[in-house]
């Protein structure tokens, strides 16, 4: 009885576990037993989705459209015309930006036709020499922030050129330069709308929840059906994927603006427009900038995945390299993506932080010095390129454009390293690999698969009830029911097993490392910097080194997942521990606690809610990575989603699978977030 009053939750958990194991023992594993596996009542869902999409695309609302080729009006479905026009606009803009960088004729073609090009071969838009673009990037960096950013811009662009990745890099860049601003704009619009209208906020919230937990792959299939294949489709998939965090952060930032600042804006005589754009949004800048930053990261993360539906550039090259196990090339391309990500990240940040000097009395040259220098760079670069055409008369003109894969390459070096690692550590790696698979992963997998569905429900909903309450338990039940009634329960269990294994390892790692680093100011700063740096990496990049070490196995996926998912766990642990008020430390010191006691009984309890939010992120990150891992051959939900991309029935299947993954994430999210919120309130931290 004493135990019950002292630790009611612990007792509840004990009872829950007892019931769970009892159910596991009692329910016999047979397909006819409903308690073992629910019947797939939602089996038809993918087909219903497919039929509706098809109806929408081909039959709904036919309208008369003028067709210039047959010179007559033709009946076409409205929605398809709509998606088609969006596609062509995107394609036009992407091509336009791309041709500024790389030259070409597609933009001209868009306004004339191919015949015109064939008759007039001179109307080719010439590519800018890479030296000019590099120069401009450096100038831009200098203008935005100063020497540091200029040097970074220089290193990035020169790396891209020298390593022969110029063309794919510019292709990727042209795609990001369209997708990112559109995502930011959409995010802002919806964020503002949700801020202005409670109804919109309530309607958007579940959509955003799902969108932020859907795996990257599942965006691809419906986009193919609606918009076709190609750069524009990739851009649209990226935008759909990258906008939700922007909406979230915009809304969050606007809500956080202090009432006094709103009042002062009103009393300064702002109208609604000035209020929004000169007071609210600038004041919420910090959160909105984090949003912009996230968008840029998501865009670059998607470049690789978007190459499945025809995005050209670094992403598709990386895929090919990884597919053919050319790790060296993979690393070089990976570095390109990371460099572009870092550069865009810093530049967008610097742009937002720029200031004006009102007192400077400038001459025409001083005011326009950057434009003038840019012009000079353009002229010099062109001249250099022209000279280059004489120097490199017989080979490639390196001063104009370094052709793809004709630059310096370090690939052989990496290949040698990989070979050396394999030769030296082969047995160790193999032994580790085998141990992990046979002793831990396989048993764990069979354990998960041996859970009766009823027992799983009891466990999850029970945990939800104990930690977060009845409402949350019911929501979790709803999420699980969707998965249980679909055909994919077993697959979902496999995803759950890989993800939960990775989450446990990441959480332990993150909390331990975070706790150690949080004891010391410098160490905290260093570890947060490392976390920042690792978070700039698009998720796909994590696969490169693990493939290098472990080849194409489940182990690779798990290790990549652990590394990727450890970042939030570590970061939140450090942040949580560091935010424990100094007075608590002082109070502890005066009570004579040791360092260890302080950590156990003061820091950890206070920081725990925040750490749990980190674990929450870890779960979402892990799910993402596990699904991406399908690319190197896991047998979970991800594999099916990947298959759906090339399946004519793929839309419905892909979306259903995506929802399954999203709901798994959201179920965990519901428990942890509600618990952490309640706990923070109880501790008076919120």
């Amino acid at each position: 009885m004493d135990l019950l009053t002292k630790h009611p939750k612990a007792v509840q958990f004990f009872v829950l576990l007892a019931v769970f194991f009892l159910l596991c023992l009692l329910i016999s594993p047979s397909d006819s037993n409903v308690l073992w596996r629910f019947p797939p009542l939602l089996k038809q869902l993918p087909f219903i989705i497919n039929d509706s999409v098809r109806y929408l695309m081909f039959d709904w609302m036919p309208v008369q459209v003028y067709d210039p080729i047959i010179d007559d009006f033709e009946e076409k479905p409205l929605f398809r015309e709509f998606t088609r026009s969006i596609s062509s606009i995107f394609l036009l803009v992407i091509n336009f930006v791309r041709e500024i960088f790389l030259g070409g004729v597609k933009t001209v073609v868009a306004f004339t036709d191919w015949d015109f090009i064939n008759e007039n071969p001179w109307v080719r838009w010439p590519a800018l020499p890479w030296t000019v673009i590099a120069g401009w990037a450096i100038i831009l960096g200098y203008k935005l922030q100063g020497k540091g950013l200029a040097i970074l811009a220089g290193i990035c662009t020169i790396y891209l050129a020298v390593f022969g990745q110029w063309k794919p890099s510019m292709e990727t860049l042209s795609f990001v330069l369209i997708a990112a601003p559109v995502s930011v704009l959409l995010g802002l619009i919806f964020g503002i709308w949700a801020f202005k209208s409670k109804a919109v906020e309530i309607a958007l919230n579940p959509l955003l929840n799902v969108a932020q937990t859907m795996p990257h792959y599942s965006y691809l299939v419906p986009v193919i059906v609606l918009f076709g294949v190609g750069d524009h489709a990739a851009a649209i998939a990226t935008i759909v994927f990258a906008s939700p965090p922007m909406v979230r952060l915009t809304l969050l930032g606007l809500k956080k603006v202090p009432a006094d600042i709103v009042d002062s804006g009103l009393m300064s005589g702002c109208n609604a427009f000035q209020m929004m754009f000169r007071v609210l949004i600038p004041t919420a800048r910090r959160d909105i900038l984090i949003g912009v930053n996230q968008v840029v990261m998501q865009c670059l993360a998607m470049t690789v995945i978007a190459s499945f539906i025809g995005a050209q550039g670094l992403g598709s090259n990386l895929m090919i390299a990884l597919n053919s196990l050319r790790v060296g090339t993979g690393i070089e391309i990976g570095v390109c993506i990371v460099l572009i990500a870092v550069l865009l990240d810093k530049m967008s940040l610097a742009w937002a932080n720029k200031q004006t000097d009102y007192f400077a009395d400038l001459t025409f040259f001083q005011r326009n010095r950057f434009a003038l220098v840019a012009l000079v760079v353009f002229v010099l670069g062109s001249i250099l390129a022209y000279i280059g055409s004489f120097i490199f008369r017989d080979s490639y003109n390196y001063l104009y454009i370094v052709p793809h894969n004709k630059g310096i390459t370090t690939a052989p070096f990496w290949q040698l390293t990989v070979d050396w690692i394999w030769d030296t550590f082969f047995y160790a790696l193999k032994a580790f690999n085998e141990f992990l698979i046979t002793k831990i992963l396989e048993p764990m997998k069979s354990m998960y698969l041996a859970m009766p569905v009823a027992a799983t429900f009891v466990l999850m909903m029970g945990a939800g009830y104990i930690l977060a309450g009845v409402r949350q338990a019911l929501i979790i039940g709803g999420f699980l029911l969707f998965i249980a009634l679909s055909e994919y329960w077993d697959r979902a269990l496999i995803t759950a097993y890989i993800a939960s294994f990775a989450v446990i390892v990441s959480a332990v790692f993150g909390i331990v490392v975070g706790s150690i680093c949080a004891q010391n100011n410098t160490a905290s700063k260093v570890i947060l910097l490392i976390c920042d740096f690792l978070q700039t990496f698009p998720s796909f990049i994590y696969l490169i080194p693990v493939i290098m070490l472990f080849g194409i196995t489940d182990t690779s996926v798990i290790i990549a997942t652990v590394v990727y998912a450890s970042v939030p766990a570590t970061r939140y642990t450090v942040e949580g521990l560091r935010s424990v008020p100094q007075v608590m430390h002082d109070a502890g010191s005066m009570l004579g606690v040791s360092r260890w006691q302080r950590w156990i009984s003061i820091e950890l309890p206070l920081a725990f809610p925040h750490i749990m939010l980190g674990i929450n992120q870890t779960v979402i990150f892990a799910l993402f990575m596990v699904i991406i891992g399908a690319f190197i051959g896991t047998t979970d939900l991800g594999q099916l989603i990947l298959k759906a991309i090339s399946d004519p029935q793929g839309t419905g299947i892909g979306l259903t699978l995506g929802l399954c993954v999203a709901f798994m994430g959201l179920a965990v999210d519901q428990i942890i977030r509600t618990w952490a919120d309640n706990r923070k309130k109880a501790l008076d931290l919120a």
Binding site: D260, I261, D263, S264, G265, M267, N271, T283
Partner: protein
């Protein structure tokens, strides 16, 4: 001072909660805040009427939750009053359209906030220029005007600092400069010095009095600090539970507290620092022989007490035109200085 009030409130109510308006109509304006609370309504301002004339400095004083800030927000229409009439310069404030309200704020009103309300992304100069810019002034014009305001509040050299780089006192100077940038007729200050530490607060009060001496605005000043109210006010309105308990000059409030609540505030006030000579002088008695000394009827007792006590005869009190309007006996001064206090202490 013209007799036309710049601000006029007639039976203003502000009640928070659902159906506040209907409930208020049902009780015909007789509000019992405890009964309202049971109905889930919070009474912010309860039947307040007041007038502020041109150039007057009215301090609204009350403890937290007394409704003083709510009243100010009603008069600046940051929140809409539930019932009652508010006139600003004869215009019915509650009848203004959104556009007219914006015009009014852009040209006639300035406001200073307790937690400053500075825009974090703008420098000192940009913050001060902001009201001018939203009004549509050119950059050059607004920056020049803002630079003048920087001079006025003594922040030269810090034009390009961000608010986060300034101390609390400096931030509030920016807030003051911003609120004055459009040269408003009416100046609202909502606990402007409460977030500052005592020494800085004193300094800012002096600064404020200096500015008011130069500018002569019509001012509504909200504070929870009775000493601050006494120091600054032409008149003080003491609020409790949304009701004005007493609205009068500082010396009248100290001499004749209208309610028990007001008396508790005045208890510890050093009278000599509040009372004017006028309030303790006797009518002129021609038979009395007066000393050489002349004191102004508006002088605070504390500032002339020493001189009066060193005189052997009663002292003549003069008005602004140097006419003798009364006499002051040292015994009255002694009573102000020591009498009240000892009487009170024996009571206790």
């Amino acid at each position: 001072m013209s007799s036309n009030p710049v601000i006029k409130c007639e039976s203003v109510y502000k009640i928070f909660g659902n159906n506040a308006k209907q409930t208020l109509d049902q009780v015909n304006g007789v509000v019992d805040s405890i009964k309202f609370l049971e109905a889930g309504l919070i009474v912010g301002v309860n039947n307040v009427s007041l007038e502020v004339v041109q150039g007057e400095l009215l301090v609204i004083m009350g403890l937290s939750g007394s409704g003083k800030s709510t009243l100010l927000r009603c008069i600046s229409r940051l929140t809409d009053a539930t019932a009652g009439k508010i006139y600003v310069d004869g215009q019915d404030l509650l009848a203004l359209t959104k556009k007219q309200l914006i015009e009014l704020r852009r040209n006639k009103m300035g406001m200073v906030f307790q937690s400053f309300g500075l825009l974090p992304h703008k420098t000192v100069l940009e913050n001060i220029a902001f009201p001018l810019q939203v009004k549509g002034s050119s950059t050059r014009e607004s920056v020049e005007r803002a630079a003048q305001m920087v001079q006025l509040v003594g922040l030269q050299g810090r034009e390009n600092y961000f608010p986060r780089e300034l101390s609390g006192g400096q931030q509030q100077r920016v807030g003051i400069a911003r609120s004055l940038a459009v040269e408003p007729d009416i100046w609202f200050l909502d606990e402007p010095f409460s977030a500052l530490d005592p020494l800085i607060r004193k300094e800012m009060q002096d600064e404020f009095l200096r500015l008011q001496g130069v500018l002569g605005k019509t001012i509504l000043f909200v504070t929870h600090d009775f000493d601050e109210a006494l120091r600054l006010a032409d008149r003080i309105a003491i609020m409790k539970d949304g009701v004005i308990e007493q609205l009068d000059t500082p010396s009248n409030i100290v001499l004749n507290p209208a309610t028990e609540y007001v008396r508790r505030f005045t208890e510890d006030v050093p009278r000599e620092k509040v009372l004017t000579v006028r309030s303790i002088m006797d009518p002129l008695d021609e038979s009395e022989r007066l000393g050489e000394l002349r004191v102004s009827e508006d002088a605070i007792v504390d500032s002339v007490a020493e001189d009066i006590l060193s005189e052997e005869r009663p002292v003549a009190v003069v008005d602004a035109k140097d006419n003798i309007v009364g006499t002051l006996h040292a015994s009255h001064v002694i009573k102000v200085l020591f009498g009240g206090r000892s009487a009170e202490s024996t009571e206790n």
